[in-house]
Symmetry: none
Subunit: 234 residues, 2 copies
Amino acid sequence: MKILLADDDEQLQRALRITLGARGYEVIAARDGAEAIDLAATTHPDLILLDLGMPKVEGVDVIRAVRAWSKVPILVLSGRTDSAEKVDALDAGADDYVTKPFAMDELLARIRARARAAPGDEGDAAEVAIGDLTVDLVAKTIRSSAGGGSKGRAAAASVRLTPTEWRLLELFLKNPGKLLTRQMLLGEVWGPYHANDAGYLRLYVAQLRRKLEPTPSEPRYFLTEPGMGYRFEP
Amino acid sequence: MKILLADDDEQLQRALRITLGARGYEVIAARDGAEAIDLAATTHPDLILLDLGMPKVEGVDVIRAVRAWSKVPILVLSGRTDSAEKVDALDAGADDYVTKPFAMDELLARIRARARAAPGDEGDAAEVAIGDLTVDLVAKTIRSSAGGGSKGRAAAASVRLTPTEWRLLELFLKNPGKLLTRQMLLGEVWGPYHANDAGYLRLYVAQLRRKLEPTPSEPRYFLTEPGMGYRFEP
DNA sequence: GGTGATCCTCACGGTTCCCTAACGGGCCGC
DNA sequence: GCGGCCCGTTAGGGAACCGTGAGGATCACC
């Protein structure tokens, strides 16, 4: 359970880091809005604790930027008690709003509530079949489904994906049949600032096809939707 | 959007009923905990507004009883500010906790946040039927509803829409039965600067008809309103 | 310091899509 | 009957997009 902690208050950040760490959460720290957006994209946290009023990027803009490509729960911390600010943050996509000062056990309970609602990543069916290959998302392995023991090992050795390829493949396999827009794919894999560089995608989709499709020149599983994006069809 | 309002405070209940009703929510009222559990089971609300400290059944027990069989979002209202009570309610399964007195616009924003996170139990409202075809607006797919196995696959494969056609179709499907003027359609699809170029529309409406209507020459779903615009009739 | 893998940039054909233009048919007023 | 208006249809050019290959930049590891 990774939590992205975005707060510029040194003292509060240390206290939260210790408390959350003791509860078994893995804490990633960001000190301004830009860093928060960046880390949200690169580390894929399971929850974001966001302090409004950080330097560089306005808090509501951080929420909007993250929501443009991710549904990760966002819990806002703020010293402001205006209901207008709460409404803005919640409508921008935040899931909860806590005003400082707050009781630590209440914050922890709200974190648990958000984590509970979040779709469990390590749910079921970590294995997906693509043609003659079987992909295991948790073990990060690909083996040949067709019976043979030694042959299977040999095939597994021949199909190896790079980290970026795994991130991309994970997105496809978790959204079978659905259209994934370029914007969404680029945001999830490379971060929100590269949402316009379409060149990356073509290259890595081509590599996935070359490694996973039976006939890469005529894709059957990783389909192109011209002008919109790509689609994984099981 | 149905909201189950469980509150024994007569005055607050009336105020909430009026406010929520004005926002387009359908309000179901319960006056004690037992009635709340009962109505939650029989009416299947989309969200529960629950006041702690109602007679007959303890608030936290209501939460547990509902959570035993449903994941409907529960938003707790309470006059108690103890963090211990908040923790109990949240850990029992509540999704949010608001202390009275509260600002009405904040409550509404929190309701929107909870409603946003709940994508509906199973029936995706994103699917619309047009004749023998079923359109899924989020997955951007069109498949044949009629059972036929191989024929269905073939039809699904043959119906592919371009990005502009999807934008236009989305407008029609989101405004069923309503007249859409040329001005409105052109502005939404091609931007505000092309509001007078009527040529685009004829072309793309024709393509939608050719791809979706059973008999494109005699439209049944995408109707022309001469001199004004078009209308989608489900 | 060398080596290998990974990631990104750049440039080049092929395909798809979008828009322009022109033509035919139904409806209305004259 | 006749001409104008609006709608439906078809064909074609230009632009954007996609697939592919080669090569440099960066980093981990030996």
